[in-house]
């Protein structure tokens, strides 16, 4: 299976390990991502007023380029990119007159009529590859690993573009259970982490990630597993430092571990593996077994 791939800025900057792990697990599953030529920043957030049409230009340009390059669908790993591209796509279908105005401002260089599909990698894994195929590829089941899946906002809301039930999603639980992990859940899984407030109001983010991590820990979780590079940054940097913060992993990295891939193929450092007691103990047991 081949799919066009839109990385977005952050995947190439602070979330390279997510891309590295995604490409590794997709290789193992026989899926090839072909990075688009000439992609640009998607604009990150969907513009919510009728006055700033120009701000739809960034996602429209990505979708128009995709069509020019002969593709009908595009996959992204980043939740913010997914949300922004999918909402722009919806607008192109529902309010084509707005897009005609954008196109006219580019001397009609960028024509787009909403006929592409925007996919999140999690949709590809669930709907194209299938969780049964994922389970069949597991070489080192994550038995005894207790994880708290965190959805955040942009995978789920608005429900017009969300990829799972906005109130009671099951996708990450189903995926992690297919890997053999024990899943800890709670109502804060779908509550926003504060997103870009990390820039100038980090106290708002700290309050949210602290509460969510506390819920995960109270349920017995040893790690938080998520998808969004901005949620990852917030949980990684703004949990309180006075206790041991819960380690944060991308779902791609956890899938890779269950597939038996090496941590370095997944952008994981030894330090991060050491934070997961069941994996550490298993590795030690294997090391002992190998030496004996």
């Amino acid at each position: 299976m081949q799919l066009a791939y839109y990385p977005g800025c952050t995947i190439k900057a602070s979330a390279r390990q997510h891309e590295q792990a995604a490409l590794a697990i997709l290789r193992a599953l026989g899926v090839e991502l072909r990075e688009m030529a000439e992609w640009n920043c998607c604009g990150v957030v969907h513009t919510l007023t009728s006055a700033n049409l120009i701000r739809h230009m960034a996602p429209v340009r990505v979708l128009a380029r995709l069509r020019q390059q002969g593709a009908h669908e595009v996959v992204t790993l980043c939740d913010m990119c997914f949300n922004t591209l999918a909402r722009a796509n919806l607008l192109a279908r529902q309010q084509p007159e707005q897009f005609a105005a954008i196109s006219a401002s580019t001397d009609s260089e960028l024509r787009y009529d909403g006929d592409a599909s925007v996919l999140h990698l999690l949709q590809v894994l669930r709907d194209r590859v299938g969780l049964a195929a994922l389970r069949a590829r597991v070489r080192r089941p994550l038995r005894e690993l207790r994880v708290y899946p965190y959805y955040g906002c942009k995978l789920l809301r608005p429900s017009t573009v969300g990829i799972d039930d906005p109130e009671i999603p099951t996708l990450l639980r189903d995926l992690l259970e297919a890997l053999g992990a024990t899943v800890i859940e709670g109502h804060l899984q779908t509550r926003c982490c504060g997103a870009y407030q990390a820039v100038d109001q980090p106290e708002l983010v700290a309050e949210r990630v602290t509460a969510t991590a506390a819920q995960a820990r109270a349920g017995g979780a040893e790690a938080i597993v998520l998808s969004c590079p901005l949620c990852h940054f917030n949980f990684d940097t703004l949990q309180p430092r006075n206790g041991a913060p819960l380690p944060v992993f991308y779902y791609t990295q956890v899938i890779g571990l269950a597939f038996g891939l090496e941590p370095e193929e997944l952008g994981l450092e030894t330090r991060q593996i050491d934070q997961l007691p069941p994996l550490r103990q298993r590795d030690r047991a294997q090391a002992k077994g190998g030496a004996a």
Binding site: T10, A13, S14, V45, T47, T49
Partner: protein, 134 residues
């Protein structure tokens, strides 16, 4: 102390502008408070979303001086649950846009510490600039 409450929406320019920019009709709100109960950041708001809407409808002074609409990140939790299908994040964005047009940008990248700029993911910076500057 006396306060003037204008029930005549013709005189309420701010309400009209917010409705035009957001595409939302605030008369539909029946003040159930679901948005306030849902919002993960309501504790940091100086006015919960339902009361912000009410003050806008009454034309009360001081709405643009509030912090509430700068706290909203548009997570859409309230929009999903609103029984009157009001997209409250669009109302918040309209207020931000009006405030920026009247008073200028709320965030200056040049004033952020160098370490912050270096460490932040690009999506955080771009999103923040899109919400806080014109």
């Amino acid at each position: 102390m006396s306060m003037t409450i204008r029930a005549d929406s013709q005189a309420n320019e701010l309400l009209q502008t917010v409705e035009a920019l957001s595409g939302q009709r605030l008369a539909a709100c029946y003040q159930c408070g679901t948005c306030a109960a849902t919002c993960p950041f309501v504790a940091a708001m100086d006015l919960p979303p339902d009361r912000l809407i009410q003050q806008l409808r009454f034309g009360l002074p001081g709405v643009l001086e509030r912090r509430a609409f700068w706290v909203c990140v548009g997570c859409d939790s309230c929009a999903e649950r609103c029984p009157r299908a009001i997209a409250v994040p669009r109302v918040m964005e309209a207020l931000r846009l009006i405030a920026i047009r009247e008073r200028g940008d709320r965030l200056a990248v040049a004033q952020l510490p160098a370490a912050t700029l270096r460490d932040l993911p690009p999506i955080a910076l771009v999103a923040s600039l899109r919400r806080n500057t014109g």
